[in-house]
Amino acid sequence: MIIKGKIKKGEYFDSITLMRVGKEISALPGVIDAAVVMGTKENKSILKTSNLLVTEFDNSSDTDLLVAVSADSAESLENVFKKVDECLLTTRKKVEGTDEFNPRSLESALKVLPEANLVIISIAGKYAGLLAEQALERDLNVMLFSDNVSLETEISLKKHAEKKGLLVMGPDCGTAIINGVPIAFANAVNRGNIGIIAAAGTGLQELTSIISNEGAGISQAIGTGGRDVKKEVGGIMFIAGLRALADDPSTKVIVLVSKPPHISVIKKIAAELKKVKKEVIAVFLGADESELRNYGISFAVTLEEAALKAVALSKNLELSTVDARIHEEELSIQQLANEITKKLKPNQKYLRGLFSGGTFCAEAQIILQDSVRDIYSNAPTAKSKKLENSLVSINNTMIDLGEDEFTVGRPHPMIDFSLRNKKIIEEANNPEVAVILLDVVLGYGANQNPINELAPVLKDAASKVIVVCSVTGTDLDPQNRAVVVNALKDAGAIVMQSNAAACKLVGQIIKCN
């Protein structure tokens, strides 16, 4: 073994660079060990322990950079120090060559882009409200991706925005499409004449995707954040968005989507709709239908139905065509369920829904509330009961993996599949589970490699249980919906055209069994 060392005076590099260089050198043929560290007394003692200390280092100081290498032969050492110099020089060039200015405040960002009229804010909720206020003061519209913004702050921001004729999308608004530009978690969709206002992020994604896949397109898709339609906020941005779309010449049909608004907000929406001369379809998941009828609101029961009706209206087709189509599809679903359930064993009886989108989890519970008994959920709605321990499924269970208990310290399940994959394997290995239901959401911001990460897991699960999924997205998305659908089918999953269709299928499977 041969050991050689070199001192580099007056050269300073961060720890990651030095670790990286050390690893690169260590990987060279014939190199046994290497270290690139500052010449402190203590580091020299470690070098001594690891047989890397050379006498040349005796005269080094704390501020010198020491490069120490041990190799199996002199030949192996020959080019090592040259390689070290190259690696460090590359880093140095990168430092000196950079002229890029990355603004880190609203003020400096506006200096770079003075014509901007929309600010997207994604910082800790405690500070986001203040920044949003500053943006409104500068007559800028706001998209508040941040959550944990207080209700009081939200109301104050929205009232301020309303006075100024500006939009505040959020808090906790993760999706929008403005003038054809997808923002945050959004899909690549056709441009067209259907406008959407949504207090439900994945609801917006499902609608825009289905509309685009049906050959129609989106004018604007405005997110408002989930609390906007609650009593306290009073639907301020929902109404503002509705007015904006009513005045927008490129919008012919308007779709409203949220969980059930408070009755006071429904009344406001109904009053506003009287002034709107365009076709409007509302999908307020789980709302009392008779109440909506009383207020003269045209509604759909599922996101899919709302999307199909909006498409029909945009193409001047009768809505009855949509009803007929949905009826046909339900018959096909029933037939498919009869076939599939033959594969199940007698003790396989339960449904486990594992969702990355909260709206899909809610829609599933609403659709299945009368056909599947004893549904438990960590985010219960309709007739579902509260699941006390989110990690332990009971009977028929629907989990929203985007809820807080799953997302502290880890990316959202639309980005990071690892936690859901673990759950899929766990549920598939349970002999009482008959079917696993899941949503796969594509688009910007979502996991860019869903096939690689999901298909192997689904292949294994599908050998034990029935796996039913929907894929939200379009062929224009970075992941390409058609490619993803084919891959999941090849893996043994049953892929339905929408979350609603997937839910109806699993409802029939559980019923048949």
């Binding site: 720890s15 990651i16 046994i32 402190t40 203590e42 000196e96 200015f101 990355n102 405040s105």
Partner: protein, 275 residues
């Protein structure tokens, strides 16, 4: 060039460039005792930081600080009092239970997100698999030994940790700075009124190296002067939601190369060492 903020510990005088990185230029006084850091907004405010905007840092070659101005080769800028960054720690609404819960979240995030070769292995020994046999393993072993001593004798333990590791500020020095910050934090929130260890330290024994950068950070930490990211992080431990703890911890871990992770590990060591 505009000044966004300047730290409350910057001494007046002329400075020359010590070292230069993507987002920071380190300046040093002729006496070699004082430093000032010219940084961009990516780094943020700190006790010795001058945060500049709308300027290319690499073009700044000289620095002079007077009572009323900050002068670089590019421009002379007045020191407006509203731009002074307050580096001291003050907390209100101290709820011990909340802090303990937030420390658990901090630990989880630290161990998930810290750089593989940072000192976080002290609290998750499975991370030792990232250390190659040879220098890296010997380094890790020496740190473990230092921490074991730390529990019994702080000064002796610090002397076994300092100066060790990678980077311009060795990992061990960043850990010590974090440890001091942690002790100051505990003093401020009065979790354990007996935590006066920081006042007992003979700092001169610790700062015997020639590494001016490390010495500077350790001195600041010892007196409880912290940068903005660390301040946000400590504030979130006291009053923040779990999301806020996550975000501020993440930001702190992004500091420097592995410095942020080593600093965070030092803070955590102080928090649990003195419970």
């Amino acid at each position: 060039m505009q000044i966004f903020s300047f730290g409350d510990n910057i001494k007046c005088g002329e400075y020359a460039i010590h070292s230069s990185f993507d987002h920071v230029i380190n300046f040093i006084s002729p006496s070699q005792r004082d430093m000032a850091f010219l940084v961009d907004e990516a780094i943020g405010s700190g006790p010795l930081n001058i945060v500049v905007t709308h300027a290319s840092l690499q073009k700044i070659l000289t620095l002079k600080v007077t009572p009323k101005f900050i002068i670089t080769n590019l421009v002379k800028v007045p020191k407006i009092s509203s731009l002074i960054y307050n580096s001291s720690l003050e907390f209100s609404d101290v709820n011990t239970k909340k802090i303990e819960n937030n420390i658990l979240i901090f630990r989880k995030i630290l161990l998930e997100l810290a750089h593989p070769l940072s000192l976080a292995f002290l609290f998750d020994r499975s991370r030792l698999k990232n250390f190659k046999p040879g220098f890296e393993k010997a380094f890790a072993d020496s740190i473990i030994e230092g921490c074991t001593t730390l529990n019994k004798d702080i000064v002796a333990g610090i002397n076994k940790i300092k100066g060790r590791g990678f980077g311009l500020t060795p990992s061990g020095d960043d850990f010590i700075a974090g440890f001091f910050i942690g002790l100051n934090f505990l003093n401020k929130i009065h979790v354990n009124k007996k935590i006066n260890k920081i006042n007992d330290l003979k700092l001169a024994k610790v700062l015997s190296s020639e590494n001016i950068l490390s010495n500077t950070f350790i001195r600041l930490a010892e007196k409880g002067a912290v940068n903005e990211r660390t301040k946000f992080f400590l504030n979130s431990l006291v009053t923040g939601s779990k999301d806020e703890v996550f975000e501020t911890t993440k930001k702190m871990l992004e500091m420097g190369g592995s410095s942020g992770a080593d600093l965070a590990t030092g803070i955590f060591a102080a928090l649990i060492e003195t419970r």
